[in-house]
């Protein structure tokens, strides 16, 4: 198991946003996480990524307990994430957005930064790697564009590209197609699937567009009012009576 959640709980004051959730994400899988609005999916993602503190429970990643680590520590363990709302450095170029997460750059040290020659080569190598990632998500032509000038779908792709720059083992995506045109939404999922196929990255994806999601996932978890309601293959979940009830209002 790459990721194991054990009895995760999160209280916001009196509100229990995540209630005793345990689930497993095997290495190399694409796992879907669905549920009505407010069921606690984003909160769960935030708990794993370390952006909010958990109330109780454990997060085990690659056999290691990472509960309570800070966001940057979690990132360095190999867990990258995308946001429901695109979260980028909008006033910077696409390329700059990709170079920011690169680890251990020489030119970020005050002693080297003013001496261009000491880090120019390294920087060029990082830029080439970033260009390669951009090519994979088909953003190469936009490398010098300000992130704020991208379309909604391109912003999502840029988030994914940024996550790739850190060579993550696990990628958490929160509604990668929210606010994206239907045709592009399918494109995005195709890119996502290739992350697993070409780079072996494991994915945990929160998504509302079930018709697309179900085409790509190996397994689906369903949340409702902070609880894990069910889990199964796409086909099983589509037929699951309770899920249909809470989710589709059948």
């Amino acid at each position: 198991m790459l990721l194991e959640l054990k009895h995760l709980r999160k209280d916001f004051g009196g509100l229990r946003a995540v209630d005793d959730v345990s689930l497993n994400v095997p290495e190399g899988a694409i796992i879907g996480l669905i549920g009505p609005n407010g069921s606690g999916k984003s909160t769960l993602i935030n708990l794993i990524a370390g952006t909010i503190d958990l109330t109780a429970g454990q997060v085990i990643f690659a056999g290691e307990d990472i509960s309570g680590l800070s966001a940057d520590a979690v990132f360095h363990k190999g867990i990258a994430r995308g946001y429901q709302e695109p979260t980028l450095y909008f006033k910077m170029t696409v390329l700059d957005n990709l170079l920011l997460p690169v680890k251990g750059q020489r030119g970020e040290r005050p002693w080297y930064a003013p001496r261009w020659s000491t880090w120019q080569r390294e920087e060029r190598a990082h830029a080439l790697a970033a260009m390669e990632v951009l090519r994979q998500v088909q953003l190469l032509p936009y490398y010098d564009t300000l992130a704020s000038d991208l379309s909604g779908g391109q912003m999502k792709l840029l988030e994914i590209a940024r996550a790739l720059m850190g060579a993550p083992k696990l990628l958490l995506l929160d509604e990668p197609t929210a606010g994206v045109a239907p045709k592009l939404a399918y494109d995005i999922f195709r890119q996502i699937a290739r992350l697993r196929d070409d780079h072996g990255i494991t994915l945990l994806i929160v998504e509302h567009r079930l018709e697309i999601l179900f085409d790509f996932v190996d397994y689906v978890y369903v949340m409702h009012l902070g609880n894990l309601l069910a889990g199964g293959s796409a086909a099983e979940i589509s037929d699951h009576a309770t899920v249909r009830e809470v989710y589709f209002g059948d």
Partner: protein
């Protein structure tokens, strides 16, 4: 206004404005990256001036050596104040007001350390021993050797700083912190290290400004504090976020304190002793009329986020 007065006051505006700019850029940078309006900045400046003075008294008259010493001492003072005070406070998530008060306290501590030292070694109101000379004279225009030090050094440092911010990995990360520090953490930017580097840079700039200032007037433990309101006025004119806005702000403040007040004195008999009121008037006016300072006018221009 007689042409001689106008010319001299404009030269003074440029010279003093340059020094204000060097200091104000540090304040803008601290505010952008660290979200801290740092009043102790005044005392990094004074610490740098004393470093310069001591190096020059010890016999070294090489301006590069003098300014390097000032940079180093200013930088270390700033870094130390961060590590010892601001960082522990930030980790306790105290309010902005607490941080501002703490910055006053840090400034006071540095100032009184310098006082004690100046008292012990009798270093009050001394000047760096580079004599003032006329370098260029044409009609009413008189340029001194100190002008020739201050202005080009400022221009060079501003260019360097702009390059550093916009064309190096460190600058890229500083801009990222300025824009969204939480995202910076999530994508693995070494936030604390970037902060430390920023403090070094900010303190170093203030130190060099102090060294340059002590070429033209005497060094004493209150010199930074005496200048800080003018410098804050410049930074606030720049909206505390824009480099070009801050630089313009610095020259506007210096211009008001030199040319404008002399014009008002000459034409309307306004007392020169009102000079210290000018930065306050500017600060209040900016906050009332255009809280964003020049940045709102410049929009993209030299904004920290490029």
């Amino acid at each position: 206004m007689p042409p001689a007065l106008l010319t001299t006051s404009l030269v003074n505006s440029i010279q003093i404005g340059s020094l204000y700019a060097l200091m104000a850029l540090g304040i803008t940078l601290t505010f952008s990256v660290m979200k801290l309006p740092n009043f102790a900045h005044a005392d990094y400046f004074t610490a740098g001036a004393y470093a310069a003075l001591i190096v020059s008294l010890s016999g070294a008259q090489n301006p590069i050596a003098i300014m390097s010493a000032a940079f180093l001492v200013g930088a270390l003072t700033a870094l130390l104040s961060h590590l010892a005070v601001f960082k522990p406070l930030e980790s306790r998530e105290v309010s902005l007001y607490t941080l501002i008060l703490a910055s006053f306290a840090v400034g006071l501590i540095i100032r009184y350390i310098l006082f004690t030292m100046a008292d012990y070694f009798n270093l009050f109101d001394l000047r760096i021993g580079i004599p003032l000379q006329v370098l260029y004279r044409e009609g009413f225009l008189i340029l001194s050797n100190i002008f020739a030090w201050v202005v080009p050094t400022t221009i060079a440092l501003v260019i360097l700083l702009t390059l550093l911010l916009n064309a190096t990995p460190l600058g890229r990360e500083m801009r990222a912190l300025a824009n969204n520090i939480n995202l910076a953490r999530v994508i693995g930017i070494p936030v604390e290290r970037v902060k430390n580097s920023t403090w070094l840079l900010v303190g170093g700039l203030a130190g060099v400004a102090g060294a340059l200032w002590s070429l033209q007037t005497a060094v004493n433990p209150l010199m930074g504090w005496a200048a800080i309101i003018s410098v804050f006025a410049a930074a606030i004119l720049g909206g505390l976020s824009s480099f070009s806005g801050t630089i313009i702000g610095a020259y506007v403040v210096a211009f008001s304190e030199n040319t404008v007040i002399l014009f008002l004195n000459y034409s309307f008999g306004l007392d020169l002793a009102y000079k210290p009121a000018i930065p306050f008037i500017i600060i209040i006016a900016v906050l009332l009329i255009r809280p964003g300072g020049f940045t709102q006018l410049l929009k993209r221009g030299g904004k920290l986020q490029r």
